[in-house]
């Protein structure tokens, strides 16, 4: 627990002092929304559908940068090796990086939610609160996946190309469930319609957080 807190604190302090990722992620969210608005030209009739789709496009693309931020930073100057040399449990290290990634992604998504309300003319109300569970669960799942994969892609040639190739297909089930749950929330459908998708998201999260914690050791070990 001590190691977990120490690494997380270090990553967050690094971010607060430099402020680079937060700003970049905000800008990225904004640009994705701008692109999608022009690409989709949202009509009032399909507003909920388009907004839910746009939100999850932003989640995946901003996540690709946000969730991997804290782990890729360790590749510079052999920091990862230093971390693995210390008496730190690989699962604790994974947990800290996952939490860091989750926080960075959450910042980008907050920007994305504000922007879809503005750009897609959504009502501010209960529908937006119902967006929170799928977004939180989807972000956790993506961060869990991306943290594990970034440790791999960061140590291969052209790794920044490899990450999306590996992450996007694996994320498909959570993406389907997340978009559908968000759409149900924005349309104000009964809670049961959202619930079954949340079930899939929870299953996805449990699976990938467990797998990440178990397999992270094999990914960061050097021989």
């Amino acid at each position: 627990m001590g190691a977990f807190a120490a690494i997380l604190r270090k990553d967050l302090r690094l971010e607060i002092r430099s402020g680079q990722s937060t700003l970049a992620l905000f800008a990225l969210s904004l640009l994705i929304m701008v692109v999608l608005v022009f690409a989709l030209d949202p009509q009032p009739s399909d507003r909920a559908h388009d907004a839910a789709g746009a939100l999850w496009v932003a989640l995946v693309f901003a996540g690709m940068l946000g969730a991997t931020r804290s782990i890729l930073a360790e590749n510079e100057n052999g920091c990862m090796r230093a971390l693995t040399l210390g008496p730190i449990d690989a699962a604790a290290l994974y947990g800290a990086k996952l939490t860091g990634g989750f926080i960075f992604m959450a910042i980008a998504e907050l920007a994305a939610v504000i922007l879809i309300v503005l750009f897609f003319n959504l009502e501010i109300g209960a529908a937006l609160i119902r967006l929170a569970p799928p977004l939180i669960l989807g972000t956790l799942g993506f961060a869990a996946l991306a943290t594990l994969l970034a440790a791999i892609s960061g140590r291969t040639r052209a790794g920044d190309l490899l990450l999306p190739v590996l992450a996007v297909p694996l994320f498909v089930p959570a993406l389907i469930a997340g978009v559908k749950a968000s759409e149900a929330a924005l349309l104000g459908l009964p809670l049961a319609a959202e619930g079954q998708w949340l079930g899939i998201l929870i299953g996805f999260d449990v699976l990938f957080v467990t797998l990440g914690a178990l397999l992270f050791e094999h990914v960061i070990r050097e021989d």
Binding site: V165, V168, P169, I176, K180, I200, L211, L215, E222, D223
Partner: protein, 235 residues
Amino acid sequence: MNSAIRNGLGWSTLALMLTSLFMVFEWVPTEAEQGIVQRIFYFHVPLAWVAFAAFGIVAIAGVFYLWLKDQIWDDLGYAAAESGMVFCTLVLITGSIWAKPIWGIWWTWDSRLTTTFILWLLYGGYLMLRAMADDTPEVARFGAVIGIVAALDVPVVILSVRLWRTIHPAVIVTRAGEHGLEDPRMVVTLLVSLTAFTALFAWILMLRFSQLRVRSRLNGMRREAALIEAAARDY
């Protein structure tokens, strides 16, 4: 010894393949509703079975590699992924060829098609990783991790895609294979074809596997030679 088994398997595959070709094109009766095009079913289904089985082998080999750290498991997993990719590609191609005359479209986001497509993408990611990196134990571990994660992702994919498509029913709900095989000869043909394609896969897997074994041994020798050379230079 090994090559004797391999050759035996190769010749049996050839015999099985010729038998199944004869059965598919000459012996089995034509399906009443779809006509001649339904015969692609006897290739499509065995290909799909092999593609999924190959993926299972990648994952199991991955578990054993992380556990026992023996290069032999990585070679098996890599060989299975490469051969599986070929079969998975063929499933998608034969599926499209079948879909066009029957459904009138090349592709639909039906649950089975979507799942197979995702499987194909996952294979692609695995192979891209292997192509982008050298043959080091580190990359072998990465491959094992990806293989395991991907295999465990597949059930979640199936679950979500099925739910996705029940809520939004596809335009076409009937599927050729689900009409049931009315004639017993159809069942026999399918079984022979399944055996033939499984044998083909086993044979290709064995060929590629032994090739990778040789390569690994060669890499090991190279490393050893480099060490000896370095030691000699220091001396």
